[in-house]
């Protein structure tokens, strides 16, 4: 099991290394991986159908509750089969689609990483493990969208997709941690029994919000949907695989997985119904205005994902059956449509639906595949999606309160969706073949067989729906925590309301197709509303964040050390000064101070003289030397007050600093009067106020009763425990040796920093 998941990562690594050798028909060999994984997962089918659940456990980080726990039940098996099944077709298809591409090795490597992470996601039984795979799918999606990395639009889209899905990931993680800390476990299996506990918790609302944001961003729900149309910049097989059939369904999977744990609560159901409902109608409506084939498909995918959330939100048994069948149906016809669009794009070089026509004459198999997929998406009888559409209507009709609104929402969405299906699957193939498309020819079989195969899958399951109900749909319902006794998928439901609604949908879809013609004007019209779309708002936010960051950085980080020092000290003075004035009763007891001895007086006057020399000197060297005089005088004070260790260290440090100063400053031009009066005044004021502040603090400290427990412990135990008489050194090397070890490591890092910065800079100049 672990091997099945890891094999994708291993192959990815291998492909990266051997990528250059991947020429000719060799990429076909890579397809062996998804195919064998498909067979492996299919072999679980009998066991799962009989109602069992298979577990695999391996300890990883038990102390943090992260274990390699995997579980195969109906839900994860359905998704695993989709991932590996569609994956096999996409791998085969890509071998022809990407033929001769220089980075084909890299392409397959990303695809393998994606497939493995997606498998890990749907099989994980541990929330944190699931989250890791969740992020990995987002990362591989980022690389695949930006695969044509010499294209600015691609890079932008991949960054946008990453920002949205990655941002959602943070919310999801917070939600998971919340769930984990309330139930005390990260195992999903164990959580199944604590659903009531979670729902009763006062943080239930927050938890739902966090999990929903994660799921909605991943599955492109309104208002986070806008990354998905941009993701169509990816090569078409990727769009088919990630952005329609599998990855975007991760959010659906997650919500389905949590249905038995968090579901069946008004918050849960209403949020899902509202967001799903809004998304499905909004996106379906948008899809009819697009003229780019992939754009149409992107919006209809968003709409389909909306339908799925909507169904999960209704949450009745009928709705859950409808959702599980629709996951399968949608994968079949949408991947099929995407793959045919890929062929069209590959062979004609355009995806503009207004210019494409009559392609059936030059690529008949593709026309058949696209036609079947289009009919599927419209829910014509004898396709699997006819059954799924009926199930959807049954679910909305039996949802009790608001059934009328929900049903009309579903019908409207389906009409729009069937229109966009016709637009992609039929429109480019009928009519008169334009002259410039005359010499288009059929590509290799690897490109037209997969979509055709997908189309026929939809038909076969449509003819024999009983192939599915007991074997796959029942276990899925089991996993969703629903009653699964009498699921029976049927072609013929009898003459009833559902059939009538289906017929209305089909007729309206066809009429809409006959009336409405895609055109540039309509696209422009809808684009005029762009300024209030979530995408523009997001872009505006992103831009203003960037600009603000730039301004702040330019102010705070302008490259002048003096400006940094000024800011730091100014801030300190304000902050501590404010605190002192507001909260501390400043008192000063003259009688507590000792009389200044003659030595101290002399050293003190030396310091004062040196400071004046620094401030008023017109030579750099004199200023430096005077600075070190101040430093040495300070050391003398340390000696007077019984800190010889400190004095020694300070003495050496001062010497070295002076040398360093001299080394650097001697190379600078002679001292110039660079600063004006006001700057000097400002710096002087700042310096004096900082000095005053420190003095006040020092005097205040004298008023506090001193706590000597720690220092007494050290002085008492230095010899007893550490056999040393020099307490300072014993602390450094023994009691707090760990700190010293870290300190010398920090010193090392500083040295490496200086070394690399200066060396790299000087070698660049050369």
């Amino acid at each position: 099991m672990l091997l099945a998941i890891l094999s994708g990562f291993l192959s990815a690594l291998l492909l990266l290394i051997l990528g250059r050798q991947l020429k000719g028909t060799l990429p076909l060999i890579v397809s062996v991986l998804p195919i064998s994984l498909f067979i492996y997962f299919a072999s679980f089918l009998p066991e799962i159908s009989s109602g069992k659940t298979v577990f695999y456990n391996l300890e990883w980080i038990p102390s943090m509750g992260i274990d390699l726990d995997f579980k195969i039940d109906g839900l994860s098996l359905l998704f695993s089969l989709l991932i590996t099944g569609i994956g096999s077709l996409v791998f085969l298809y890509s071998s022809a689609y990407m033929k001769g591409h220089i980075y084909i090795g890299r392409f397959y490597s990303y695809l393998c990483i994606f497939m493995a992470s997606m498998l890990g996601l749907v099989l994980s039984d541990n929330l944190l493990l699931l989250f890791i795979f969740w992020e990995l799918t987002a990362i591989s999606s980022f690389f695949l969208i930006g695969f044509n990395n010499d294209n600015t639009a691609s890079r932008k889209s991949s960054l946008l997709a990453w920002a949205i899905t990655g941002g959602g990931g943070f919310f999801l993680m917070a939600g998971f941690i919340l769930m984990g800390s309330i139930t005390g476990t990260y195992s999903i299996q164990e959580m199944l029994s604590s659903g009531e506990l979670l729902k009763a918790n006062s943080l239930y609302g927050l938890m739902l919000f966090l999990v929903f944001v994660g799921a909605f961003t991943k599955s492109a729900q309104f208002p986070f949907h806008f990354w998905l149309p941009g993701a169509m910049k990816a090569p078409t097989p990727v769009s088919a695989y990630l952005h329609s059939a599998t990855m975007v369904k991760a959010g659906i999977y997650l919500i389905a997985r949590f249905t038995p744990i968090l579901g069946n609560h008004p918050y849960w159901n209403n949020t899902l119904m509202i967001v799903g409902g809004v998304t499905m109608l909004y996106a379906a409506f948008h899809s009819i205005f697009r003229i780019d084939l992939k754009g149409i498909l992107a919006y209809s995918t968003i709409s389909a994902l909306g339908i799925l959330f909507f169904l999960l939100g209704i949450g009745t048994q009928e709705a859950l059956i409808a959702a599980s069948v629709f996951v399968l149906v949608h994968a079949f016809y949408k991947a099929g449509l995407f793959l045919t669009v890929g062929v069209i794009d590959h062979e004609t070089g355009t995806r503009n639906v207004t210019t494409l026509a009559g392609l059936r004459k030059v690529m008949l198999p593709i026309a058949i595949a696209a036609g079947v997929a289009a009919l599927s998406s419209a829910g014509i009888p004898l396709t699997l999606s006819f059954i799924s559409k009926d199930l959807i209507y049954e679910a909305t009709l039996s949802s009790g309160k608001g059934a009328l609104i929900l049903t009309s929402l579903a019908i409207l969405t389906n009409i729009f969706l069937s229109y966009s299906g016709y637009l992609v699957g039929i429109k480019p193939f009928i009519g008169k073949l334009p002259d410039q498309l005359k010499d288009v020819h059929l590509p290799s079989g690897f490109m037209w067989l997969p979509p055709l195969f997908l189309g026929f899958c939809g038909l076969i399951f449509g003819f024999f729906p009983s192939l599915l109900d007991k074997s796959l749909i029942d276990p899925v319902l089991n996993a969703l925590g629903a009653n699964s006794n009498n699921t029976a998928l049927q072609i013929w439901h009898g003459l009833n309301l559902v059939l009538l609604l289906s017929a209305i949908t089909i007729v309206c879809g066809i009429m809409l197709y006959l009336i409405l013609k895609p055109s540039e004007q309509k696209l422009k019209m809808i684009n005029r509303l762009d300024f209030i779309s979530p995408h523009s708002i997001f872009n505006f936010l992103a831009r203003s964040t960037k600009n603000t960051a730039l301004r702040v950085t330019q102010f705070m980080h302008n490259g002048f050390l003096r400006s940094y020092l000024t800011k730091i000290i100014f801030f300190l003075v304000c902050l501590i000064g404010f605190y002192l004035i507001k909260n501390v009763n400043i008192q000063f007891y003259a009688e507590k101070l000792t009389i200044i001895s003659i030595y101290e007086g002399v050293v003190f006057s030396m310091m004062i003289i040196a400071i004046f020399t620094i401030v008023f000197s017109s030579s750099r060297l004199v200023a430096i030397i005077s600075t070190s005089v101040v430093g040495y005088c300070m050391c003398l004070f340390f000696v007077y007050y019984g800190a010889p260790d400190l004095a020694m260290t300070q003495f050496s440090i001062d010497t070295l600093t002076t040398v360093l100063f001299v080394l650097v400053l001697l190379k600078l031009p002679p001292y110039l009067k660079m600063r004006d009066r006001s700057a000097q005044l400002r710096d002087g004021l700042l310096a004096i106020s900082f000095g005053t502040l420190i003095s006040v603090i020092a005097l205040q400290v004298l008023n506090e009763p001193t706590n000597k427990t720690i220092s007494r412990f050290y002085s008492d135990n230095a010899y007893l425990l550490a056999k040393g008489k020099n307490v300072v050194n014993v602390i450094l090397v023994d009691f707090r040796g760990y700190d010293t070890l870290v300190e010398i490591t920090v010193l090392t890092i500083a040295a490496i920093g200086v070394y690399s910065m200066l060396k790299i800079k000087s070698s660049e100049i050369e």
Binding site: A722, N726, V728, V733, G737, L741, I744, L747, T748, I752
Partner: protein, 136 residues
């Protein structure tokens, strides 16, 4: 800037200062001193030498670039902390030899830790100062 007086003095001061730095290092456990100060004093000795004779001469004298000292020092320090682990004590427990050595006195693993600090400080200080003076 070659001053004959400084040059002559520096040549004699180098071994003296180094010896002094070792002395400071060793006496650290009982009297003021220790690895950190010792390392600084040793670096000052080399800096003085380089100011008098030029950077090239000092680097020749050192044979290896100063940043080689850093990993050596770090390894000594960490090793002194790791040894107790093998004897079943926690990391960085100080162990003591039973009999005092002549001149140095009682020796414990803390001394080796201090030697590590000493070497790292020399390496770091010289690396920073030499790089800066070479590249400015």
């Amino acid at each position: 800037m070659k001053i004959i007086l400084l040059k002559t003095a520096a040549n004699y001061l180098l071994p003296l200062l180094l010896l002094f730095s070792v002395f400071i290092l060793l006496r650290g456990h009982y009297e003021p001193g220790g690895g950190f100060v010792g390392g600084l004093i040793a670096s000052i000795a080399f800096i003085l030498h380089s100011l008098a004779n030029g950077l090239d001469k000092t680097q020749e004298l050192l044979k290896y670039p100063p940043f080689f000292f850093i990993p050596i020092g770090l390894s000594i320090a960490i090793a002194s902390g790791l040894v107790p682990l093998f004897l079943g004590h926690p990391f960085m427990t100080v162990l003591w030899f039973e009999d005092p050595l002549p001149v140095i006195g009682l020796v414990g693993s803390a001394l080796f830790f201090d030697i590590g600090v000493y070497v790292v400080v020399i390496g770091v200080t010289l690396t920073i100062l030499f790089t800066i003076s070479e590249n400015i």
